[in-house]
């Protein structure tokens, strides 16, 4: 990846598109503070984080970034509620508060009656919603979603997009990697990558508003 210069403003909803090997994963890892830059600078929430060490990066990931992964990445032995509480546990939020926040977040994604289920008792869409609730826990500066609908059927994918659009309306900053153009059309801006370079960066003309396919909670 070279010569990449992207700025994502607060409360933006950006899709990053590109083929595999185009560099979008590397960019995601850098935005997510999982990887560090060999050259250049990265400002997150106004702070230069490109020179930070492992421990400081862990704290940034914890407090500033909410990850949503393609393969959900829930811990299989924890319940939905415990999974959502996990980042707050590392942030040393008191047990009472973190239970409260986690319940709130799960309600927000429509899983109030699935809180004590383990991941293997949930559908793919529900798992991803737990993951989104988890990402919201520490009120992150940015929500980073890596192909969040990649493992979901279109109906569940649509549900996820409803949630993202709602969050965005409420002020969240969301960066989403996808290779599905119609999913990207749900965002406000599309940045396309090819061979480690940005080939286009433009606002979305006709944003698709996700239809609520009557969130089934069964």
């Amino acid at each position: 990846m070279r010569g990449v210069n992207v700025t994502v403003e607060k409360n933006e909803f950006v899709a990053i598109m590109g083929q595999s090997g185009s560099g979008k994963s590397t960019l995601m890892n850098i935005i997510g503070c999982l990887d560090s830059l060999t050259e250049g600078k990265y400002y997150l929430d106004g702070h230069d984080v490109s020179k930070l060490s492992g421990k400081a990066l862990a704290v940034i990931r914890n407090k500033k970034i909410g990850f949503v992964f393609q393969s959900f990445n829930l811990l299989p032995k924890l319940t939905a509620l415990q999974n959502v509480m996990l980042p707050m546990t590392y942030a040393r939020v008191s047990k009472r508060l973190r239970t409260e926040f986690a319940e709130e977040a799960l309600e927000k994604v429509g899983l109030q009656d699935r809180m004590n289920h383990k991941p293997n008792e949930l559908s793919g869409g529900q798992k991803q919603r737990v993951a989104i609730a988890r990402a919201l826990g520490n009120k992150p500066a940015i929500i980073l979603a890596d192909e969040p609908t990649g493992n979901l059927d279109s109906r569940s994918g649509e549900e996820i997009m409803v949630i993202f659009q709602t969050l965005h309306r409420e002020g969240a900053t969301i960066v989403m990697v996808t290779h599905e153009p119609d999913i990207a059309q749900h965002t406000k801006r599309i940045v396309s990558f090819k061979d480690g370079r940005i080939v286009s960066d433009s606002p979305v003309e006709n944003q698709i508003l996700a239809e609520v396919p009557a969130i089934e909670s069964a």
Partner: protein
């Protein structure tokens, strides 16, 4: 994540892999269990022996004929030897002892009570610290006259007469060749129901009386007590010499302190304890390696989990701590199980042999400490390995 939460999540993780966890703990369980078993049995034995011997005159010495030599009848100990020993200026009390097994009919029933007849003299009371409960002990007069008197212990008194004070009663003593009658002149305190040596009921009679009945002259043991205890070894040597001179033999007698025989028991016990502890130690070492091995497997298995946790903000220290706590929980629980089994085994062995194992707080604390240290040292490497994982690689791990 605070300590309590780390503990509960580690316990959950250990519990979710029950079979593997138990197998992993096995080395620790066996190691800790065997150390606990042997030390508690050893200590219990020691305490029990100590209380047994505390009631005996521990300062006493005793002479026996060596059993591993060719013994002629001239070499045997007699009452003359007692007088000889009494002649030594540093000897205060001398008591011969000749013991035979007898039966005593229980009054008003057909039953028989086993007892040991100790034929001795009035000094026996001092060399073996006998405590009187009723009446009196044998007197020098009884010995001189060969009186038909007996001192019995309260255990026997209760059995035979149904009460502790049986002074003045006639008691029948079934010997090998018939029944002899004697008058009870005193009741002495029974030995506490002793653990290591199940002590029988005792009857004491003047040795002269018994010799009359049996036409015998030989004495099993001569006990004696010294006026000046600092001279113990010299006096013991001198007594040996006197006996050899008088019998015209050499190297036929043992002169020993009661204390010495106790110390011999302790020494043997010490060797056994050391040996078993060594075996336990080896088992702990192997157990520790097993724990390390399983922890390494666990780290590999949970690479993805580690990646997720790191992405969500766990620091390397959080991760290292998590695995370290798990290792310590494994060995800690193993230690607890081992300790429980060890004590259970000790109790079982104890009831079988007849004494209680000793609980020792330092040993319990020490054992758990050792288990923790093993957990820490075998957990460090896997924990560091987990902590050093690159989150991107770890997340990609299938």
């Amino acid at each position: 994540m605070n300590l309590l939460e780390s503990l509960s999540s580690a316990i959950a993780s250990v519990y979710s892999n029950k079979m593997r966890s138990v197998l992993t703990m096995l080395g620790i369980i066996i190691g800790i269990g065997s150390v606990i078993l042997i030390t508690s049995v050893g200590l219990g034995f020691q305490e029990s022996v100590q209380s047994d011997f505390a009631s005996l005159g521990m300062d006493s010495l005793y002479v026996t004929v060596k059993t591993d030599k060719d013994i002629a009848s001239d070499d045997l100990l007699t009452l003359k030897d007692c007088d000889l020993i009494a002649g030594h200026p540093n000897v205060k009390f001398v008591a011969p002892s000749w013991q035979i097994s007898i039966r005593v009919p229980v009054a008003s029933s057909e039953e028989m009570q086993q007892a040991v007849l100790v034929s001795t003299n009035d000094d026996y009371r001092f060399v073996n610290s006998i405590e009187l409960e009723y009446g009196r002990f044998l007197s020098s007069q009884d010995v001189a006259n060969g009186s038909r008197v007996a001192v019995i212990d309260s255990q026997l008194s209760k059995k035979v007469f149904g009460r502790s004070n049986s002074v003045g009663e006639k008691i029948d003593l079934k010997l090998l060749y018939g029944t002899e009658e004697a008058t009870v002149i005193g009741v002495v305190k029974s030995e506490e129901l002793s653990a290591v040596f199940a002590l029988p009921a005792y009857v004491y009679m003047p040795i002269t009386t018994v010799f009359d009945i049996y036409g015998s002259e030989r004495v099993d043991v001569v006990f004696f007590m010294l006026a000046d205890k600092d001279q113990t070894s010299q006096t013991a040597l001198a007594v040996n010499k006197m006996l050899e001179l008088s019998h015209g033999n050499s190297d036929k007698y043992n002169v020993q302190e009661l204390m010495e025989s106790v110390e011999t028991i302790y020494r043997v016990m010490g060797y056994i304890t050391a040996f078993v502890s060594l075996v336990g130690g080896v088992s702990l070492l192997v157990g520790g390696i097993g724990v390390m091995n399983i922890m390494l497997v666990t780290v590999t298995e949970r690479t993805r989990e580690i990646g997720i946790r790191k992405a969500l903000g766990a620091t390397s220290r959080n991760i290292a701590f998590q695995f370290l706590v798990e290792a310590v929980i494994l060995t800690g629980i193993g230690g607890l199980i081992g300790m429980t089994l060890g004590y259970a085994g000790a109790f079982l062995a104890g009831t079988y042999v007849g004494f209680l194992p000793a609980f020792s707080l330092p040993i319990i604390v020490g054992t758990l400490g050792v288990a923790t240290v093993i957990g820490l040292s075998s957990g460090v490497y896997p924990a560091l390995k987990a902590a050093r994982l690159d989150p991107i690689e770890a997340l990609r791990y299938e």
